[in-house]
């Protein structure tokens, strides 16, 4: 049978604050275990949590950037469960009155975009980190680091609107880029500042009701999210094809074996017994402050993409790629403002530059070629000093050594020969040296043009201006 895949994502992301959500401990990554702790985040008796204003502001920003409605009154609840990484025995979260609801994210796809609904965004505190004793030679113990306890998070819950693993990945990329643009989060998966759970179910194509879903937990890299969902979809397809029922459960993805497995035991029907957190007072985002926050949000990816198409006259696709991250968009705009042609710069960035960066698994922030250097090179192409082919060599060298284009051109004598007389002289010699081919060409074997172009490029060591070479060859052979 043909099934439709139905996916909803729950994304936890760390907000960019200096201190924790309810106490004045640092959020700095990489400190000694338990250095960032205090009586509040350790859950000592009698302490009082107080909400970090910056965390609230960033949560509101996230809501505004994703078109959520801000709830006029929002509050915190206790989510009760026992686990050693949770010193209080409950997590402070938002249950019945989250900060924002009913948002959406548009996924651009071949010109027509898909709108993915957001059910809610709520604030909560992160839990600590458990290290299993095996790693420390104590297999009968576990070790707890509370540095992450109380790190401010928002959880962004999508509607079950995603229809394929690729779409889930696109959604994540989009969400990440929006949160980065809006300054809410770094979304650095390596540092644990973005985590994702996925709810997955299948239903026969055309059926309205949802099928039974499983929850895939702790997908901790963008690559894994798509792969894990793919593998879970395959597993559910096999079960349904055999006429069996999918069991509603929580599963984990094993990247090494590329399979999902049931978490079993611990997941005995959750009963978190939420109730209003009496230690924290309700939150009301006043209209004036809301306006202030709204004004402070910079241009977001959708707006930037539209502006790029309008102002730089580049295709929609180019604009989409270039605005995929704020850093890349800034890089592009700087190159253009420093003199690179808008479309040429776009071609180089989307082609050579991103290819090199992908190969090195580097991001644009650590690109060895600065926007000014790229602009200089693009100008050399545009004024005819370098042919496209030569420019590729120059670019590789720039990327490898960090040297400016002009220096590489000078060092390697790479100036394009655009002197028509010089090219004519070369071609005369080639024609004289190849009477057989010349005769065949003139007799109608036009494919031999490539041979003559090749000979000329060889004679000029690749430096002859290809356009002039073509013109002169047609003239002389014609």
């Amino acid at each position: 049978m043909k099934y439709e895949t139905v996916i909803g994502l729950e994304v936890h992301t760390q907000m960019k604050t200096r201190t924790k959500i309810f106490c004045a401990c640092s959020t700095e990554f990489g400190r000694t275990a338990n250095e960032n702790t205090c009586p509040i985040c350790l859950g000592m008796p009698g302490v009082l949590p107080v909400l970090n204003k910056r965390a609230l502001e960033l949560a509101v920003r996230a809501c505004l950037a994703t078109h959520c409605t801000i709830n006029p009154l929002s509050r915190f609840d206790r989510k009760n469960y026992f686990y050693p990484d949770l010193p209080k025995g409950y997590q402070i979260s938002q249950f019945s009155l989250p900060i924002g609801e009913y948002g959406h994210i548009d996924l651009p796809a071949n010109g027509n975009s898909r709108r993915i609904g957001l059910r809610r965004i709520h604030m909560e505190e992160d839990a600590g980190k458990l290290i299993h004793g095996e790693n420390l030679g104590q297999p009968d113990k576990s070790y707890v680091d509370f540095n992450r306890t109380g790190i401010p998070l928002i959880e962004i819950v999508s509607e079950p609107d995603l229809r394929s693993p690729e779409e889930a990945r696109d959604y994540l990329n989009r969400l990440k880029s929006i949160l980065q643009y809006a300054g809410v989060s770094d979304c650095d998966m390596e540092k644990g500042s973005l985590r994702c759970d996925a709810n997955i179910s299948l239903r026969p194509v055309g059926q309205k009701e949802f099928g039974i879903r499983t929850e895939l937990k702790n997908l901790n890299s963008f690559k894994f999210v798509q792969k894990a969902i793919e593998i879970e979809v395959q597993r559910q397809t096999r079960i349904l094809d055999q006429g069996d029922r999918v069991v509603q459960e929580t599963r984990l993805y094993d990247a090494d074996r590329n399979e999902t497995f049931s978490m079993r035991s611990k997941e005995e029907a959750h009963d978190y017994r939420y109730f209003p957190e009496p230690d924290l007072v309700p939150v009301v985002v006043e209209a004036t402050w809301l306006e202030e926050i709204r004004r402070s949000i910079p241009e977001l990816p959708d707006q930037k993409r539209e502006r790029f198409v309008r102002d730089y006259q580049i295709p929609e696709y180019d604009a989409e790629v270039l605005t995929s991250s704020r850093a890349l968009a800034d890089y592009y705009e700087q190159s253009v403002s420093l003199g690179a042609g808008a479309k040429t710069a776009s071609n180089w960035i989307m082609g050579e530059l991103l290819r090199e960066l992908n190969n090195d698994e580097r991001d644009i922030e650590s690109c060895p070629v600065a926007p000014a250097a790229l602009a200089e090179m693009v100008q050399l192409v545009e004024n005819g000093t370098l042919s496209g082919k030569m420019a590729k060599t120059v670019f590789e060298e720039m990327y490898r050594t960090g040297k400016p284009a002009k220096q590489i051109v000078a060092d390697q004598g790479l100036i394009q020969i655009s002197d028509r007389t010089a090219i004519e002289k070369m071609i005369d010699e080639i024609i004289a040296a190849n009477p057989g081919q010349t005769e065949e060409y003139r007799a109608g074997k036009v494919k031999l043009m490539a041979f003559f172009v090749g000979q000329t490029m060889k004679a000029s060591k690749g430096k002859a201006n290809p356009q002039i070479v073509n013109e002169v060859l047609k003239e002389k052979l014609g």
Binding site: T17, R18, T19, A24, C25, S26, T32, A33, N34, E35, N36, T37, C38, P39, L42, V50, L51, N52, K53, R54, A55, L56, L73, R75, N80, F82, Y83, P84, L97, L130, I131, H132, G133, L136, Q138, P139, D140, K141, S142, Y143, V144, D145, F146, S265, K266, D271, R273, P276, P278, L280, V281, P282, V283, V284
Partner: protein, 92 residues
Amino acid sequence: MSGFDIDNVALLARLRLEGAERERLGKDLETIIRYIDQLDQLDTARVEPTSHVIPIQNVLREDEETRPFASSDYLNMAPSEKRNHYEVPKII
């Protein structure tokens, strides 16, 4: 609260209740719940849900770091610690 189950409550609270103790606490809790259940007889249709007992809102702190004690102060209070970590029984 319907279908009150003392064993489930004990499980969620990580308490082991046995014999007479289980019996006694079960009865006590049931009485407490029946008492609280009287609230259901009130018509609350026009009452705003209470978010907090004190009518205040927006108590916020600035995003500034302070460090009242050294982390070793807390670690030293733990029953067991090792290499700056709190040591606990093995978690599966």
